[in-house]
Symmetry: C2
């Protein structure tokens, strides 16, 4: 799309612009700062959570790759500028500034898939105040959503103890959030998703066979099974709880024989049903036919089925709603800024003093300290130079350098990193019960950064 400010162009939703996924106050602050001469002051904003959702042991960083795409698409083009002008949201000088806007600063962050803890500075944005303040809402939206989903997903993956989980919650959340949720769940260790757009956009493996409506469409369950087997092959998963599970399993094995891939149970007491169906399948010689259970599962429901003969789980609502914590409560705070717009003006730590919501001034570095057994024992945050020991991990990686995206990576890398990051935590991390963060956050006063 070519910017054509001054010309009237139709206001179409081009669908990929991200510049207005923003709270109005960022633009009014920009306008006021441009006028007061402070918009050019070098500034550092940090993203962190004051606490984890009640009782959670760790959080999971997700959405980093999506955020980088969104920053790249953050441009004020004709549609955006015309809206702002027509509604008098900002003045002429600000419109001219926005027209040329392109983020030229630097971003560091925790790598996608890594774990985080209270106060972990998971994103650091450095630029002029004007260019950095504009990214506040977008950065928080992406990270608050994706981290919430990945944090819940990771607990489910731990509860499943190696059994695969399919993500199938698209219908229970906003249609685009569903795509991001599928991606975040995959980072956290889910095997597949039902969401096709997540397959197309992000390469997440997709899965899915049939619903109850398919059985109801046909003149009998037998007809429905025959139709599905004829089209999708014996390796498919047949849904067996539309009418009577025992009869359905008998019909399924009669039609497909032992090569039948799997049966799915979506209702009733899943543990009891799984045992009965396993015994029935075995008695029919279908020893290799797997049992997949779905139906309002969350991490606790999955854990309760650990001893049941279940070969895979499907999780929907609990995943896309963050299993009780639908947002990660991450905030975006100005922690340092220059005294003048000069490029080499010294940086000054800043912090608000609002009751109950204090912030810590100064740009932070973060280290995960690792003991001789390879286990994390401290999230060490410092306003000075990071001083990692030999085994410790420096947590920030470069994501954007002078406006260029440098932090892209394949999604599989984030998924592998997450598995390593959880494995490195103390064993308390994978307890589902409520408790303290698995690793304590410790603040170290440091000298000024060089």
């Amino acid at each position: 799309m070519v910017p054509t400010v001054g010309l009237k162009v139709p206001l179409v939703d081009d669908g990929d612009g991200t510049a207005l996924l923003t709270d109005q106050y960022e633009l009014t602050m920009l306008q006021a700062a441009l006028r007061s001469g402070t918009a050019g002051r070098r500034s550092v904003f940090e993203v962190f959570a004051r606490s984890l959702p009640a009782g959670r042991r760790y959080g999971v960083v997700a959405g980093v790759g999506r955020l980088l795409d969104a920053i790249e698409a953050f441009r004020f083009e004709a549609a955006e500028l015309e809206f702002l002008a027509a509604n008098g949201i900002v003045d002429e000088p600000t419109l001219r500034w926005l027209e040329k806007y392109r983020f030229t600063g630097n971003v560091w962050g925790y790598a996608e898939g890594d774990c985080y803890f209270p106060e972990s500075p998971i994103l650091v944005v450095e630029g002029t105040f004007g260019e950095a303040v504009l990214l506040e809402t977008l950065a928080l939206s992406v990270l608050n959503h994706d981290c919430a989903i990945a944090s819940a997903a990771s607990r489910m993956v731990q509860a499943a103890q190696g059994r695969p989980i399919i993500e199938m919650g698209s219908r229970r959340t906003h249609e685009r959030a569903a795509v991001a949720a599928a991606r975040a769940a995959y980072v956290a260790g889910f095997s597949t998703t039902s969401n096709l757009e997540a397959g197309r956009l992000y390469g997440v493996p997709t899965a899915g066979t049939s619903a109850h409506s398919f059985s109801l469409l046909h003149d009998s369950e037998r007809h429905a099974f025959e139709a599905q087997l004829a089209s999708l092959g014996d390796g498919t998963t047949l849904l067996v709880d539309t009418y009577d599970v025992e009869r359905a399993v008998r019909t399924a094995v009669e039609l497909a024989g032992p090569p039948l891939g799997a049966v799915r149970i979506d209702s009733g007491d899943l543990g009891v049903m799984a045992r009965r169906v396993r015994a029935q399948l075995d008695s029919l010689g279908a020893h290799d036919t797997r049992i997949v259970v779905t139906g309002d599962l969350d991490e606790f429901g999955i854990a309760a089925l650990a001893a049941a003969p279940v070969d895979g789980y499907g999780v929907g609502t609990a995943l896309v709603t963050g299993s009780g914590a639908p947002t990660a409560s991450l905030i975006y705070k100005l922690v340092a800024r220059a005294d003048s717009p000069d490029e080499d003006a010294p940086m000054r730590p800043v912090a608000k003093r609002s009751p109950g919501k204090p912030s810590r001034g100064g740009r932070k570095t973060a280290i995960r300290r690792i003991d001789g057994h390879g286990t994390a024992f401290s999230e060490t945050i410092s306003t000075g130079e990071a001083m990692p020991g030999q085994r410790d991990r420096l947590l920030h990686v470069p994501l954007v350098r002078n406006g260029d995206i440098v932090g892209r990576e394949p999604l599989g890398s984030a998924r592998e990193r997450h598995a390593r990051s959880v494995a490195e935590l103390p064993t308390t991390a994978i307890q589902l019960s409520k408790g303290e963060p698995a690793v304590p956050t410790e603040f170290v006063q440091g000298g000024p950064r060089p």
Copy 2:
């Protein structure tokens, strides 16, 4: 975008296609039904919730306008077809069917903004099985999200008793869900949103002035206030809790005088602070300066401030997360289908018998029965012809007729309808305490529809 199946085109995200915002099993069911000859059977699917979120008195229908846009954009074009082909998700005959896909059926639904109750058939989709099953995930995603948000928003609006509420939760939810949330909140009676894209796409009035970072950017709070007043005028809202509220209010009135538009308090005990600030403003002669409070408010927090001198509320997290109920638990169920693909084959009611999840077969009509005082007393659902009394309201309106969208309306109409719909409910509806639905759902057996 021109479909160019057969040619290799780059897989770009054109951003407005909706056909892959779908669970894979809809496509595999389509494939199997095409093969078994059942895909062309006329079918009726209904969207309803088995229950409201625990203790809620009513739900609010929202997202209808968004769903109509999404249905119109539901086409399998080059990018979608190539993904499906490359990943072997469906076979060649299905790809050819999808390429020509366009929904040609009918959709009726509760009008946007109307209230709903357990089992209310808020959407009825009629078409061939193939064309109607494909809309399952998309319809549920849009409605589950938007209804959840609007249902929470409506309670907040009732609690605010006429005081305006600004929606400011964008940062706490997925970046595109945020836009839909702002729209749903407006339908439910919120005054404004901070989300600029909701302003551009849907015409929701936008608002916003400044954050704490603006005060921290400047050398003093006084400088920050001067900058904001110079740029945005005396009618702006100054944020007064960055350092010390009393000093900030004094400075604010000193600089702007009594014409100061408003002050915003974002932390502390909002009721106590509002009383102190009101007294201080009055003592300084700023009788018309309004007080806006924000900071983790939900419907209960708003209600608790009813007696405080507050002129407006800002609500973020609680709004975009549905205040404890982030999804509306709506489901999409096949309730009737023909015995053959013949256009005039008789329709047969169908229902599954899964334990705990039974469904009622047959296409439904719905009436809100209204007594002589204009108060609703029954949600009457029938599988026969609707027989409304003189005061009763027939709840279904036509949304799509033979594939053509006929149900579009200005967003303001939905907002006005919602206000009327809530006003018509018994007064128990606006109690925030947990309880039964404000209007009981009653099933009436009816004869066959003509």
